[in-house]
């Protein structure tokens, strides 16, 4: 099963879990599957318009996904979806 790696800022929504195994054939389905288990997770990654939040970057197996195409990217059973969320003070 594909794995979704949860970034530290979002682990409150996943009860501290650092990664979640899900069913899904593309990135969007994987994220929705995490949300089914942990309601409230999906909006942290995807905005109301269905686009990836601008403070989030998505990677599959370490490769950053192209902007605008991220959610449609095909995922296989061995893949790892990683979410990077901006955090900084300033």
């Amino acid at each position: 099963m594909p794995k979704v790696v949860i970034p530290p800022p979002y682990r409150g929504s996943t009860e501290g879990n650092t990664q979640v195994e899900v069913d899904g054939v593309n990135v969007a389905q994987c994220l929705e599957a995490v949300d089914q288990r942990y309601p409230g997770f999906f909006p942290l990654v995807v905005d109301d318009d269905g686009s990836v939040q601008r403070f989030v970057k998505l990677f599959v197996n370490g490769e950053q996904l192209d902007a605008g195409e991220e959610l449609h990217t095909a995922i296989s059973a061995e893949d790892e979806v990683e979410i990077l969320a901006a955090i900084a003070g300033g």
């Binding site: 949860i6 530290p8 800022p9 979002y10 682990r11 409150g12 929504s13 996943t14 009860e15 501290g16 879990n17 909006p43 942290l44 939040q53 601008r54 403070f55 970057k57 990677f59 950053q64 990077l84 969320a85 901006a86 955090i87 900084a88 003070g89 300033g90």
Partner: protein, 577 residues
């Protein structure tokens, strides 16, 4: 070790305005920035001294990698005994002076004493030809931008400046130390926290001018290896997420979602005005107003700094950051980023920490002495701060002073310093950092944005991040570059031609913390001081049904002071501030 050699330290005695240039100790080669400041302060500053008296010591120090070709490595640390917390303080700033000092071979400036005549103003001039103190009475009382405009005409275009605004001259304990931007002109970068601007002002030092002239980049022991490391590191960074490409202000929405965008003196964790305070609005304004993202120092690859123009397309301020939007914005119920931009500029003009000032005004509003969200009243108040009005003095002296002035009970602070945006209730491990950091409530000391962290991990996470950030702040690297300890020791090794082990870098970070904690112990701090204000344990924030307070037990907090065995993530975890 080979590598850069012949470094010096500048000692300035403000009692008689004399300068002494000393050799930089060989054994301190890997001490810079925060670590160097801590070492000097513990050895040479009486921790029980009056922070605004002659016995305090003001340190300005570049990082170990400053002045080299390492990317984003030119930050400067300002250190001293804080008049705000009463403990040791280091505040870091970007801009040019750190790199310029290092290119000239000066690892730091140590300022002692105090002029007999408190009305006199002086400047320190540092060039390739020498160092001297000169009279600067003509610049007395100048706001920072006017001062730097005048200095720009007075000194060569290659000179950068470290300045003290009118708030520092008035010795207000919320005062910052300003440094000039990449073009050496705008005093837009600030070592904001802890009131070190007041220490600079107490020494009669209006500014430091650093002119590197044609001084070259500091060269490593093995130029080829160091150059290759710089290139590969930069390539790796640019291939990554580059999360700060649109500035720290762009994280307002995520902070709001996580209930760490505090509203109305932190009685709530979310602001209804988050969309208007979102940095995305600033980036959108670039198209019509001509602002931009840029780097605050030469050689920076992060480029997180926004340049904010007004509606006429004229420069207003830089950088308008997340913390400022939170404290001068949401926490005071201000609904417009443009109003916050005005106040950011005013704080930069006065030389005031935007976090402390915003927190103080929020206390004033919470006490009923100003309307929530009244940006006009806030602008007037900030402008009156150097005039010495009672209310201005209270706010200029920070949140705790404003709490005393108003008699108001809700003052979110730790060790006398206002809590920054990142809230210790949803982010309890960050709260542990605020309790245990020698710096008081300071997110750059140990930010941990992980609301799902298990309580038994709080102490380790806090100790780990505090060590990483301490080493980062000693290296000259910017925390937003997010280097880890393995990265930093690789750069150190290439710079001096000798491997720096994991154990050695761990030792170094821990020793800096130990030096700082020891300073605070000698200043009178006890474990009873390792706590947050009561309101953080009483006023809950969070989603309905899941509201939280800061309730970490004292034994967890005290565990941070005992060195724990290193785990892999100590060396691979990234700086976070």
């Amino acid at each position: 070790m080979s590598g850069p050699s012949g470094d010096k330290l500048i000692y300035v005695d403000m009692n008689d305005q004399s300068v002494d240039i000393r050799d930089f100790p060989e054994q301190w080669k890997l001490l810079g920035g925060r670590g160097l400041s801590a070492k000097i302060l513990l050895a040479e500053c009486d921790p029980s001294c009056d922070p605004l008296g002659p016995d305090n010591v003001l340190v300005m120090a570049g990082g170990v990698l400053g002045g080299t070709a390492a990317p984003t490595s030119g930050r400067i640390s300002i250190g001293g005994k804080s008049p705000l917390t009463g403990g040791i303080k280091e505040a870091s700033s970007g801009g040019q002076p750190g790199q310029h000092l290092m290119k000239l071979g000066y690892r730091g400036i140590v300022v002692k004493g105090q002029p007999a005549d408190a009305e006199k103003r002086y400047a320190l001039e540092v060039t390739g030809d020498g160092v001297k103190v000169v009279a600067a009475d003509d610049h007395k009382g100048k706001w920072n931008y006017a001062l730097c405009e005048d200095l720009h005409g007075q000194y060569p275009a290659t000179a950068s400046f470290i300045t003290c605004g009118p708030a520092g001259e008035a010795r207000l304990t919320g005062a910052s130390v300003a440094t000039t931007d990449q073009d050496n002109r705008y005093p837009a970068r600030h070592a904001g926290r802890g009131g070190l601007g007041a220490v600079m002002g107490s020494k009669g030092l209006k500014y430091v001018a650093v002119d590197p002239g044609k001084a070259s980049v500091r060269q490593a022991s093995d130029r080829e290896a160091f150059g290759a490391l710089c290139k590969s590191y930069t390539k790796g960074y640019l291939a990554g997420g580059q999360m700060f490409k649109t500035g720290t202000a762009s994280i307002v929405p995520v902070a709001n979602m996580l209930h760490t965008f505090p509203y109305k003196n932190r009685v709530e964790g979310q602001s209804p005005d988050a969309a208007n305070l979102d940095g995305a609005r600033i980036v959108e304004s670039f198209e019509s107003r001509g602002g931009m993202m840029h780097n605050c120092m030469t050689g920076c690859i992060v480029k997180c700094s926004n340049v904010v123009n007004d509606a006429k397309g004229e420069y207003k301020t830089s950088a308008l950051e997340f913390e400022t939007l939170t404290l001068l914005g949401a926490t005071c119920a201000v609904a417009s980023w443009e109003d916050v931009a005005d106040m950011d500029r005013l704080c930069d003009e006065m030389g005031l920490d935007t976090i402390e000032t915003g927190a103080a005004i929020a206390v004033l509003m919470d006490a009923g002495q100003m309307e929530w969200g009244d940006a006009d009243a806030m602008r007037k108040l900030i402008a009156e701060i150097p005039e010495g009005t009672d209310r201005g003095n209270a706010v200029g002296n920070g949140a705790v002073a404003t709490g005393k002035f108003t008699g108001h009970h809700r003052v979110p602070e730790a060790k006398g310093q206002a809590i920054p945006a990142w809230d210790p209730r949803p982010l309890k491990a960050t709260g542990v950092s605020y309790c245990t950091s020698p710096m008081g409530a300071d997110h750059t000391a140990g930010l941990i944005v992980n609301p799902g962290l298990a309580p038994d991990q709080f102490a380790w996470e806090s100790q780990k991040v505090q060590i990483i950030n301490t080493v980062c702040d000693s290296s000259g690297f910017c925390q937003f570059l997010q280097p880890n300890l393995d990265d930093i020791r690789a750069f150190y090794g290439a710079l001096y031609g000798e491997e720096v082990s994991r154990e050695a870098i761990h030792d170094q970070g821990w020793q800096v913390l130990e030096d700082e904690w020891e300073f605070n112990r000698q200043a009178g701090f006890t474990p009873a001081d390792d706590k947050l204000a009561d309101c953080m344990g009483q006023d809950a924030v969070g989603a309905e049904g899941a509201k939280v307070v800061f309730d970490v037990p004292a034994e967890t907090i005290q565990a941070v002071f005992k060195r724990m065995p290193a785990q892999e993530e100590l060396f691979t975890g990234r700086a976070s501030g």
